[in-house]
């Protein structure tokens, strides 16, 4: 594909670009779903094209095309330069790019079983078996299952001389049981809601999660929730399951640390951030036991934010975000790094596809494990509520005030889970919440969760991000606020 990318760079240079980078991407996707024992979606897709970003007259332009001929690519590169020159009519300042080396490399994410090589019949049989197990449970009125696989090849070339090919294989799966009774809809999902778990893995991810074995349990819980007492409204102790904590990290740490938000570049859409530049190395973001990193390296795990190079040609890195509770770092790119005193980008420029501009995105934003066992944590809690599996999430556009609800809650009294609670929810202010964290479970309970649906940018881009977390405890949290009716 470099035979298309390199001429695009040449055209851009001849037209007046002082910098250019090109991504040729080939994306393949398979989606399988079932509903109530019948096949729902059964679809496969592929998309291939080229996107070029250029700097000309000190301003940015980007154009993309699916016409992968020399003429089509040259026209696209010329269009990008024309757009950059139009941008210069209303540019705000000169672009300063942090230096970066040129790399020539090829990398493939490791996987044991290529999901596109597993027979479709095998994949559908698995979903239909899990679906049948859920439908066996009385009171369940809707059953859903899904599998999603992606294979993404990208060829990056820049005017710095980089030539980087990366192949990523991503798998995802989940099941859900819904129960309608009286005037209430209750739902349980496994291993997570909104499509389940997603990771940079092959079909081995699906096999490891044992959907069929877990199907009866979540179906029974969905039906049982109707008879469970309502989660009380109070201020108290909260234990979050790992997947819910992963989303809490995403919304209240991952987004606020995006430097483009901090600098106002997302003010019209995704919002800004309370983490103004003066907060760096000063803000007590969280309690002393909280350590959060942005880690895109494979060493961190096969997350949706794992890669070898970002889409600006910068190698994957691990950055301290919160160290012993103190705010230590942002997510940056080559253009913004110098604004926070960095000599180099932290490597977080990512694009959804060939037709989208790379932008600062989360990689794997993870809470490092603590020391507790889950039994020990529950045993140490005299009065609290354990909440698991997200049902709704919302946070203000500067990332202060949030509210989450989960599918299921468990009341904890005297160190024991005593009964199921329905409609659990909690809310708070980001820094107050993280400063109230007093216990984090160990690596034995730590999972690198995948969030496949993070939206940002205009035109909108959907990106997968990773969030490692283990169950953790928070004190003095407002509980039950979503269903309060003052």
């Amino acid at each position: 594909m470099y035979d298309l990318a390199v001429p695009a760079l040449d055209t851009a240079r001849l037209r007046g670009a002082t910098y250019a980078d090109v991504r040729v991407m080939h994306l393949r996707q398979r989606d399988l779903t079932t509903k109530n024992g019948k096949v729902g979606t059964l679809a496969q897709s592929e998309s291939i094209g080229l996107g070029i970003r250029v700097l000309a007259n000190g301003a940015w332009g980007f154009a993309s095309t699916d016409r992968l001929t020399r003429e089509g690519v040259a026209a696209c590169a010329a269009q990008a330069v024309s757009i950059a020159k139009a941008s210069a009519l209303a540019k705000r300042s000169e672009v300063v790019m942090a230096p970066e080396d040129a790399y020539v490399d090829s990398w493939q994410s490791p996987f044991r079983k290529d999901p596109f090589e597993i027979p479709l019949e095998t994949q559908l049989a698995l979903l239909l078996a899990a679906d049948a197990e859920m439908r066996r449970v009385k009171g369940v009125t809707l059953t859903e299952t899904d599998l999603q696989f992606r294979k993404i090849d990208s060829w990056f070339a820049s005017s710095l001389g980089s030539r980087i090919h990366q192949r990523k294989v991503i798998s995802g799966c989940g099941i859900a049981a819904t129960s309608f009774q009286g005037d209430e809809i209750q739902k349980r999902s496994y291993p997570n809601s909104f499509g389940g778990q997603h990771a940079l893995q092959g079909y081995e991810l699906v096999e490891s999660l044992d959907l069929v074995k877990n199907a009866p349990r979540i179906a029974e819980e969905a039906a049982a929730l109707h008879a469970a007492p309502q989660c009380p409204e109070k201020t108290g102790t909260l234990i979050l399951g790992a997947s819910q904590l992963g989303l809490q990290i995403h919304e209240s740490i991952g987004h606020p640390i995006e430097l483009d938000r901090v600098l106002g570049e997302e003010a019209n859409f995704a919002g800004t951030s309370f983490l103004t530049l003066d907060q760096l190395h000063h803000l007590k973001y969280a309690s002393d036991i909280v350590n959060v990193v942005a880690d895109a390296r494979l060493d961190h795990g096969p997350g949706l934010g794992t890669f070898a190079y970002d889409d600006e040609g910068v190698p994957a890195q691990c950055t301290d975000i919160i160290k012993d509770g103190e705010f230590r770092g942002y997510l940056s790119n080559r253009e913004t790094a110098h604004l926070v005193g960095l000599k180099r980008s932290s490597g977080t420029m990512r694009t959804e596809s060939w037709n989208r501009l790379p932008m600062i995105r989360m990689t794997n934003i993870s809470l490092l494990p603590g020391t507790w066992s889950l039994d020990g944590l529950i045993g140490d809690t005299d009065d609290g509520i354990l909440m698991d599996t997200n049902r709704s999430w919302s946070i203000d556009d500067r990332r202060y005030q949030f509210q989450f609800s989960t599918e299921i809650g468990w009341e904890i009294k005297g160190g024991r889970k005593v009964r199921m609670l329905k409609n659990p929810s909690y809310s708070g202010i980001t820094t107050e919440f993280w400063n109230s964290c007093d216990a984090i479970c160990s690596r034995d309970y730590w999972t690198l969760w995948g969030t496949p649906n993070c939206g940002k940018g205009q035109p909108m881009q959907t990106m997968g991000t990773g969030h490692g977390a283990s169950p953790s405890r928070f004190r003095n949290v407002r509980i039950g606020s979503a269903f309060s009716n003052q």
């Binding site: 779903t33 154009a63 501009l357 203000d396 205009q458």
Partner: protein, 467 residues
């Protein structure tokens, strides 16, 4: 397929200039190629969707352009039917080998599953009501035109010691469907959008418009409106959470009621996940609420046919507060022994159908009249990050954003810190006291609809944030 035909297909996809769409005859040629190949490959029936976009978007922040993009894309989506089974494969490669591979992939997917007893034969050719949403003025907008408009808006911000951020987007798209039973339908539209956030200190305000015709809005007037409003939004007061009378501007109404659309799908009721389950025919909204789905409304955009090529019908969904009708795909209509309404999604899918062109009946009140009639309440510019808390009572949570104002004794008296709300949309539509004229509203949570501003009593704010 002959070598000559193959050559023509390639030429069709490569000969046009950037920013233009293929002529309809070339779309038909791609479809004919697919249908011919599929017949030879052994498909019993074949349906082809061809979708093309040529979009451009200029993005600005901190009073300057920081992102400026253009894209062209064409996809061919092929659904084959074989022995009572169906599946879909989509590609953006239009050479003959790639199209053949996509057909074979679709057939392999289809044949991997059990027979579907609900699968219906493909439609034959239909008659469509014409709509004209391809505005040439929008198509003629250049990057320089967008940059100059952005420059004027940013100059205004600089003059007012404010900071502007936003987008100016223009584009063209077309969608066509054809099948092996002779059906063919095609639709083209232009679209333009300008959105601006003005910031003054820690305050922000916002204005946005969207239309097929770029002349339908004036970016500078939107910038002016946001600029004047943000000046009123500085130094917000903190008020306690609770129930307030609210005056919701059309964008705020849209982003809340927009979450209702799928509840009107027959499949959602069949699956018992609609808030209308067991509520059809009952007085669940106020008598001042009437809703239709109408793709032919002059303020609407969208194709006059659904995912199977069936003509969309105007459907009365709610009459004077009573849900009267649902929308149906062919499959859900057959199961319910109703007539399909032309709202089905592309097959195969598990969601069935949805009304995509909601139009609320409005009233004759203006925002000014609503404010003048309010002793104590809140004026809401827009809402943000709305999510469903309770699907049956349709309780939604979210935040106010970019301009929340206290109204006292008939006038706006101060800015107010943003609130979180937890509010049932069903209850809200029972508590509407005044309605403005219905307008084409655009927000960030729901797709564009035709809705009025509303004055609503007892709107529930549960918590307050820091700004």
């Amino acid at each position: 397929m002959s070598a000559a035909a193959k050559s023509k297909t390639r030429v069709a996809a490569e000969s046009k200039a950037a920013g233009e769409l293929l002529p309809e005859r070339e779309i038909r040629r791609i479809m004919d190629t697919v249908l011919g190949l599929a017949k030879k490959t052994g498909a019993d029936e074949t349906e082809v969707h061809v979708d093309e976009i040529a979009d451009a978007l200029t993005r600005f922040a901190n009073n300057g352009i920081h992102q400026n993009v253009a894209e062209h894309g064409l996809t061919v989506s092929i659904r084959t039917v074989a022995d009572g089974r169906t599946a879909r494969t989509t590609t953006n490669r239009v050479d003959e080998d790639s199209l053949r591979a996509a057909i074979e992939s679709s057939l392999a997917l289809a044949q991997s599953q059990p027979k579907d007893p609900r699968l219906l034969p493909l439609l034959c050719n239909q008659r469509y009501r014409s709509v004209n949403r391809f505005q040439k003025h929008t198509a003629s907008i250049t990057p320089e035109d967008r940059a100059r408009a952005v420059r004027r808006a940013c100059d205004l911000a600089i003059k007012q010691s404010q900071v502007a951020a936003g987008i100016f987007a223009t584009g063209l798209s077309q969608s066509a469907i054809g099948n092996s039973n002779g059906l063919f339908a095609a639709y083209r539209e232009a679209h333009a959008e300008f959105s601006i956030t003005m910031q003054e200190g820690s305050a922000a305000s916002w204005a946005k418009a969207n239309s097929a015709d770029v002349r339908a809005f004036d970016p500078q007037k939107l910038a002016q409106r946001a600029s004047e409003k943000v000046h009123l939004a500085v130094n917000p007061r903190e008020l306690p959470p609770g129930r307030y009378t609210v005056i919701l501007e059309p964008s705020a109404v849209l982003d809340l009621v927009g979450f209702l659309f799928y509840d009107f799908a027959a499949t959602a009721l069949e699956d018992k996940r609609s808030c209308l389950t067991d509520r059809m025919g009952k007085q669940i909204f106020g008598k001042n609420i009437t809703i239709v789905d109408d793709v032919y409304h002059p303020l609407q955009l969208g194709a006059p046919f659904d995912g199977e090529g069936l003509p969309r019908q105007r459907v009365l969904l709610v009459q004077r507060g009573v849900p009267k009708n649902l929308v149906y795909s062919r499959t859900s209509a057959k199961a319910a022994r109703k007539k399909p309404t032309g709202h089905g999604f592309h097959l195969p899918n598990e969601y069935g159908e949805a009304p995509m062109n909601l139009v609320f009946s409005g009233g004759d009140s203006s925002l000014e009249k609503m404010i003048a009639s309010t002793n104590r309440g809140l004026l809401v510019t827009r809402l943000w990050y709305i999510r469903e808390v309770d699907p049956y009572e349709k309780v939604m949570t979210g935040m106010t954003r970019d301009g929340l104002f206290l109204v006292e004794n008939g006038r706006v008296t101060s800015a107010v810190r943003n609130f979180r709300f937890n509010q049932s949309v069903l209850e809200m539509l029972r508590n509407v006291e005044l309605l403005g004229p219905a307008v084409r509203a655009t927000g960030e949570e729901a797709f564009e609809m035709v809705v009025p501003a509303m004055k609503v009593r007892d709107f529930h704010f549960s918590e307050v944030t820091k700004f």
